[in-house]
Symmetry: C2
Subunit: 142 residues, 2 copies
């Protein structure tokens, strides 16, 4: 009947809806418990998992604009979750690292996030789960 375009089958739309649903469901953990914004949580998670690095590096890895990173870093610093360390060989770079409190927040939220993820993925078969995450990673890095 209809050969018209159907928004409900449009990948960007489906991705946005799924992203929004899951993000909203998860945000209360970092927002409610630590007063963090999404970018702050991401910066924390990067430093926690991948080790100390500069703002630039986080931005490249996560695909976040430098102004967002800059503000997230300032907020995390203010919360005493990270410290900055200007590098001697090039004083434009600053190495960012988690404090004790930052690491503790990362461990806490990381545990909750892992559970949250497991619960979400539980509704799919293992092979499906693999296909889904691989596909998303592929699409994200187009």
């Amino acid at each position: 009947m209809h050969d018209e375009f159907d928004l409900n089958g449009f990948l960007p739309y489906l991705l946005n809806r799924a992203a929004e649903t899951t993000s909203l469901a998860f945000q209360h953990h970092y927002k409610g418990r630590y007063g963090m914004l999404r970018t702050e949580w991401r910066v924390l998670a990067h430093l926690g998992r991948y080790g100390d690095m500069t703002a630039k590096q986080i931005g490249q890895r996560a695909g976040i604009h430098k102004t967002k990173i800059s503000r997230a870093v300032a907020a995390l610093e203010h919360k005493r979750f990270l410290t900055r360390n200007v590098l001697a060989d090039d004083r434009r770079h600053e190495q960012l690292g988690l404090t004790k409190a930052g690491r503790s927040a990362f461990n806490d939220l990381g545990r909750v996030a892992a559970e949250f993820d497991a619960k979400l993925m539980d509704q799919f078969m293992p092979e499906e789960a693999q296909i889904i995450k691989r596909a998303l990673t592929r699409i994200a890095t187009l």
Copy 2:
């Protein structure tokens, strides 16, 4: 080595990145050619594909908050892409419908969107493609 939480495997993060990548790639069509915002494009696509309906109905279908819909409808009306029609039996409801120009924009963008989607999905096997879209639909309606 690491049993720590890995952001790069976290579904909400992957979904957000994939959503952002595809949305950015597609937005120049409705933004560049018609000066629309994402919500406007979605409202247009709903009315074009599913027929005339009220703002409330669009919001429920698309999971968009009523204030966003209200603003998108005002913008589309200002662009002469839709008209409002207050219903006689309950004057709180207004039926929204596309104008000639609105339908033409929908046809145009719908064609481009279908091509865009096909190209994106082309990198996956048909069975994979089905799994992916089904999964996204499921996740979005949790």
